[in-house]
Structures are given as C-alpha cells and as structure tokens.
C-alpha cells in the first residue's frame, strides 16, 4: 500500500497555504464510490494544505469532488482504505483517530455549514444552535454550563441579526436566516475550523453576499480557519485563497 508522509513539503504551489502554519493537510487523498458494480473515483489524489487562520475556497464544478473532500476533512467520511492517502489535523492523521476521537473532532474542532442549512425543523432556533453544545458536553456538562452556552448562542444569533427569533422554528425563517442559524450552530462550540459546503448555494445573490460578509467578518475578527466549497467564482473570490478541483485533483 503506498504511504504518504503528511508532513512532507507541499507538492503543489496551488495547494499551499498563504497564511499561517497548515492546520489541515491532505496528501494523496483518494475516494472512490461504488455505484452498483461500477467504481466511480471522485478524488484521485488530492494534496492540499489549509493554513491556520486562512479562508480557503475550494472551487469546482458539480461532481468534481469538492464536497467529498470537505466531508473527508471534517471526519464525516473516510478516504479509500487502500491507498486513500492521508488527511491530518495539526499533524495527526484523521484515519488514526478512534470513533470516539472522531466524534470529538467533529464536535469540538470542526464546524460544518451546509448548503441546505440542515436544521432540525422541530427545534427552536435557540435549541438548534445549542444542539451542538448539548452533543459536546453531555447531560451533566451541559446542565452546569447551560446559562453560559445559551448566552453565547443568543449573542451569536444577536450578532447575526436573529436576536428576536430565538423561539422561532426554522420553517418560520427565510433561507438567509436559516443559514445564519446554521452558522451559529457551527460556531457555538468555538471550533478551530469551519467547513462550509456551498453556504450560499441555496440563496439569492444579495442574501448570499450577506452570508459571505458575515463569515468574512467573523473570520477577520476571530482568525478562524475556514474552508469554503463553492462552484461560484465570485464566492471564491471572497476567500483569501482559492484552489480549483478538477476531475478529483487540485488543478495546478
């Protein structure tokens, strides 16, 4: 099985970080899906570094594997078992993490934002945001920190212009508002990396722009590492750096 040294120097200038030390590093990442009897390779050896505090856009057409790469970086999915390469966070291979460590990684280190918001329709805005903290801290931990967590959730929602919508349900919100709730949920546990999959893909241009402003502002203020996946050049242009994924590899 070919091995990849995740600490080796950058193999592509297009994939290298422009700011800070790499916090996420992908080397030779391959992912193949099986559709019936056919193997469909989606990622064919991606090398990519994401620097700490960087706002990186991964640009690519539909089916180029950009969302898959995001899922792999976020520990939601695993690269091919045989020759699938490595993804490391702070130098530690995600593949080497136990299931429990991987859950903690998704919960505390990563924050996901999805194109279709993925809020729980029965929960209020506040509970949707706090849900990630509930998962992180467990019953006792959450109960003892409840006031602080809810204050932070309210603060985030307030900052995102949703201060008056805490008790509303997602169905009562517009698309942009829902995405802002999803961003607040992703940020509630103060992750080190925010992974956003087409965060404006389901929004009109003006609302999408507002969401990007909001993310950029937060990134500027907190220095949060962000990876945005998009097919839109204009969105990618808002990031500090962008890489293009073509046919499952980072285009040089």
């Amino acid at each position: 099985m070919p091995t990849t040294d995740v600490n080796s120097p950058m193999v592509s200038s297009a994939a290298g970080p422009t700011a800070g030390q790499p916090v996420l590093r992908a080397r030779g990442v391959r992912k193949t899906y099986r559709l019936g009897r056919v193997n469909v390779p989606v990622l064919r050896g991606v090398d990519l570094d994401v620097g700490a505090g960087e706002m990186l856009a991964i640009l690519g057409k539909s089916g180029s594997g950009k969302s898959t790469l995001l899922h792999l970086m976020g520990g939601l999915d695993r690269a091919d078992a045989d020759g699938g390469g490595e993804i490391a966070f702070d130098g530690r291979s995600i593949r080497s993490m136990s299931a429990r460590e991987l859950n903690d990684y998704r919960c505390s280190t990563i924050g996901f934002v999805f194109q279709f918001y993925h809020l729980l329709p029965e929960l209020t805005v506040l509970n949707n945001v706090c849900l990630a903290a509930m998962v992180r801290w467990g019953r006792l931990g959450y109960s003892s920190r409840r006031a602080g967590i809810e204050a932070r959730a309210s603060e985030l929602l307030e900052a995102f212009g949703l201060g008056g919508r805490l008790k509303h349900r997602p169905a009562e919100l517009s698309g942009g508002e829902r995405q802002r709730v999803a961003i607040a949920r992703a940020l509630i546990n103060e992750p080190r990396v925010l992974l956003a999959d087409e965060p404006t893909g389901n929004l009109d241009r003006a609302t999408g722009s507002q969401i990007l402003d909001l993310l950029a502002e937060h990134q500027r203020r907190t220095g949060l590492t962000m990876v945005l996946v998009t097919h839109d050049n204009e969105v990618a242009a808002r990031a500090g750096r962008s890489v293009r994924l073509v046919d499952g590899v980072v285009a040089v």
Binding site: S108, F114, H118, L131, M134, R139, Y142
Partner: protein, 516 residues
C-alpha cells in the same frame, strides 16, 4: 442532553408516536383487565374456600382420630398463630331430596358454637332478612327483602346459627341441619345471582306418586326435612351397618364455591358422631351374679372421634405459616398419644395437614393454568404492538434520516443516535403503559357498572351470575400483575424501537445528509 430534547420534541410534535403509545396502552389495558378478572376469580374462589373451611385442615379421613379436644386446646394455646380451632367430621353419604332423588353428599358434622369461631357461619347462611338488595338485584325481587317474609327469614337465620329448629309440637329446639343452596333444587338461582323459592315465581318441581299422579313440592327448604344415609366406620376402619339420619333443615348455606353449595350438608356434630359410631362408647363388665345391688363397672372406654380439625389463622399469618405451625403442634400432641392417633410422620407424608389451596389444588391449578395460558396468548397478541412501534419508528427514522446525518455531523456518536430512538421507545412505552394501567384501573374498578350498561343499552351480557356463580365480576387489580404489565409494555416498546435505532445508528452520515 440532546436525547432528552429530541425525545420530548418528537413526542410532542408528531402524531405517529402517540398512535404507538395508544397501541401500547390498549395492549397493556387488555392484558391487565383479563388478568385482573381471571385472577380475581381465583382469589374469590380461594377466599370463599377459606371462609368455609378455615385456613388449615388436619384430617384423617373416615376413621378419624380421638383425643381431638386436646389437639384443639394445644392449637388454640399457640396464640401467636392460631385464632381458633374446631373439631368436625367430614364423611360421604347419600341425601334423600324432597323429590326422592338420592344424591351423593359431603356431610360435615359441626358444633355450631365452635365452628362459628373458625368459619364465618352467619356469612354462610343464605336465608336471613336483608335491608338492601344484592348488587345485581336492581328491582329488589330477592325474597329476603320481602317484608312479609322477614319474620320467616329471621327465624331461619336464628335456627341456622344454633343449628336447631323448634319442634312443631313441643316447641323445643331440636337438632337441625344446613343444606347447600344448590342441593335440593327448591331454591332457584336467578339471573341477578339471588335465589327464589316462591312457587308463584319459579317452575315447580314434583315427584311421582304410586298412583301415577304428581305432587308438587316447591317451597321454603328450611320448612322441610332431609334424610341422610350414612356408612359408619369404626376406629379400626371396619364398616358397621348403614345408618339413616332424618333432621329438619334449619337454613341453607351459600359459600360461593359451587361444589360445596351443591354437595355439602352441615349436621350437628353430636348427631353425626352418634350415627357414625364415632361418639364415646363404654364397654360394661358383667354384673356380679351373687350381688344384685353391685353397680355395673366400665370395662373399657373408646373415646369419641372426629375426622378433621379446622384451624383459623391469626390476622397476618399466612395459611402456609399456619400449616407448618399446625404440623409442629400435631407432632407434640401425637407424642402424648403415641400409637393411639395417626402418626405425625404419616400425616406429613400424606399432606393430611393442609391448606384450603392444597386441598383444592386441582381446581386451583386448572384455573391458574387457564390464567397463565390466556395471559400468555394475550401477551403474544400484544406483541403486534411491538411490530406497530417498529413500523412507526422505521417510518420515522426514514423521515428523520437527515436529522441523523446532522447529529453525526455535529459529533453525535452512533450509540448516541441509537439512544435517541431507544429513549424515544422508552418514553412511548412509559406513556402507553401508564395510560394502559390507568385505563385498566378505571375499567376494572367499574367493570360491573360498564357491564350493566352494556347489558341495558346494547343487550350484551358476558358475565352471567347464574352461570359464573359469583354475582359480580371480580374488580381487584393485583399490584404485582400491574407491575408486570407495566414492565411488559415498556419492554414491548423497546423491542419495537431497537431495530430502527440500530438502523439510525449505522447510517452513513454523508448519505443521510444527502437524503431527500
């Protein structure tokens, strides 16, 4: 924490889980109602048996045993366990009924005074004045309520308590018997569970006379006589000549146990002892032929015998505890009369010191088996609720696939996702079982009223007092049974929830997030 929030949210915002809880409720209620009614039937049977036969019986059948007075005294001296004890004779015989039928009867010789201390004799007596009708006698047609019959009823009750009846000529009380209310056919059990003897209300029974004509013999049994045919057996077990005993009837008894009410006759102990040659007898030595004034000397005394001693327990003492105690007392008593009374080891080996439940083991076992079978069948039927929950949960997990993906994306473990659904099943189980128990309680405690309403309005009559013998459907819930049903309802829900929970836990989060 998120488990609790999601369980509460899913439970309060969805209709499907409430339907599942409803299914659990109905199953739990169904099982508990049937179990309560059938269990109540058994309890009633046992209680009736204990009320008429005491908690423990010490029996040496037919031949009986002597020195029973001492045994009674020793038993009653054990005041921590024994409330009272009484000697009786139990034997089989034939009874000649008013219509000339000869029926096999269980004849019980009792001393009214001592027997009343062990058995609720006043409660057993059927004919007595009543002020309020029995529950099913809604029109108050029970003859015991009839003011014109009040004096007759009061007299029969008094006679029953003393087991005597005034001689019509001398007016002096003479020994009388108490027959079972189902025995003679003169007292007709009515639909409401009460008895009627008045000729204007019941079909007459009659007997054929030698000339071919028929004489009608309806009427009040405590006005009549009965004749018993007995088979005396001496202390050695030998059959002596047949004996016949005709006595007036003082009253009729109703114990609540059909077999006893059909077969059992209570006869004064002294009368029965005498007829069965079980009374004390003295052998007289020949007089001195040379001294005509010399008194006769008693050469040998054979003490009186009874076949049984019935014992009543002190409140709080179980029949089984009393039985162990009675065995110990019997062993001490036997040691005092070694060789002249049945040995303690023999009594123990043959279970001749036994509780009412042991004595009626066959019928008790049969009823218990029936209950077990019905409850088991209903439990199996109730498992359909498990599949209902499984189907509902399966559909809900499908509907909530995206939620599963979201939870996994924000760090929830597989076990955590599974626990959301298991917990949800648990909540439905608790809710359904609680509602089921409440429903069962409401139905069981009002079952007779509901039954009456169904009968009056829809013509549905399931429990017929004249068939089932107890006038009312038992209406007690056994807390232990309720506990089992509660736990069963929860288990059923958990079983239904486990497979969908496993499905949710093993979902690929990426696919779950892409689910449309």
């Amino acid at each position: 924490m998120y488990h609790a929030v999601l369980t509460r949210t899913y439970l309060t915002t969805k209709v499907m889980p409430l339907l599942a809880a409803l299914a659990v409720m109905l199953c739990a209620a169904m099982v508990l109602i049937v179990w309560s009614v059938m269990g109540g039937f058994l309890v009633k049977l046992l209680e009736s048996g204990r009320a008429t036969s005491g908690d423990v019986k010490i029996t040496f059948p037919n031949q009986g045993f002597a020195h029973y007075d001492e045994l009674v005294k020793m038993l009653e001296a054990d005041t921590a366990f024994v409330a009272a004890a009484a000697p009786i004779i139990e034997t089989a015989g034939l009874v000649s009924l008013p219509d000339d039928r000869l029926e096999i009867a269980t004849i019980r010789g009792v001393d009214a005074a001592s027997y009343s201390r062990v058995i609720d004799l006043p409660g057993m007596l059927h004919w007595k004045p009543l002020d309020t009708p029995v529950p099913k006698d809604t029109l108050g047609r029970d003859p015991r309520l009839d003011p014109e019959l009040r004096e007759k009823m009061a007299r029969a009750f008094e006679n029953g308590l003393t087991m005597t009846r005034p001689d019509p000529i001398s007016g002096k009380p003479v020994p009388a018997m108490i027959s079972g209310i189902e025995m003679t056919g003169l007292s007709f059990r009515q639909f409401g569970g009460w008895y009627e003897f008045r000729p204007q209300f019941v079909n007459a029974i009659g007997k054929t006379l030698p000339d071919g004509s028929v004489t009608w013999i309806n009427g009040f049994m405590p006005d009549k006589f009965l004749t018993l045919r007995l088979l005396p057996i001496d202390s050695e077990g030998r059959v002596v000549e047949m004996a016949s005993l005709t006595l007036p009837v003082a009253n009729e008894h109703r114990t609540g146990v059909f077999e006893l009410d059909k077969r059992m006759i209570l006869v004064p102990l002294a009368e029965l002892q005498a007829k069965l040659k079980m009374d004390e007898s003295r052998g007289v030595a020949a007089r001195d032929p040379y001294d005509p004034d010399a008194p006769a000397t008693v050469a040998r005394t054979i003490p009186a015998r009874v076949t049984t001693v019935v014992v009543r327990a002190k409140p709080g003492v179980s029949p089984d505890e009393l039985r162990s105690r009675a065995e110990a007392v019997y062993a001490r008593w036997e040691a005092d009369h070694r060789g002249r009374v049945p040995s303690a080891s023999l009594m123990k080996a043959n279970s001749l010191i036994r509780t009412w439940k042991m004595e009626q083991q066959q019928i008790v076992d049969a009823v218990e088996n029936e209950i077990g079978m019905v409850v088991m069948l209903l439990t199996f039927i109730s498992f359909t609720a498990s599949f209902l929950i499984l189907a509902i949960f399966w559909a809900m997990v499908s509907e909530k696939t995206k939620d599963v993906g979201i939870l996994r994306a924000i760090g929830a473990s597989r076990l955590g996702v599974a626990w959301v659904w298991v917990r949800y099943g648990l909540a439905i189980g608790i809710l359904g079982s609680t509602l089921g128990l409440t429903l069962a309680y409401l139905i069981v405690t009002n079952i007779n009223e509901i039954h009456d309403w169904l009968g009056a309005n829809l013509g549905i009559v399931i429990w017929k007092p004249n068939v089932y013998y107890f006038a009312e459907i038992p209406r007690k819930i056994n807390p232990l049974h309720a506990g089992f049903v509660f736990a069963g309802g929860i288990a059923m829900s958990l079983i239904g929830a486990v497979v969908p929970a496993w499905r949710a836990a093993t979902m690929d989060p990426v696919r779950a997030l892409r689910f449309e």
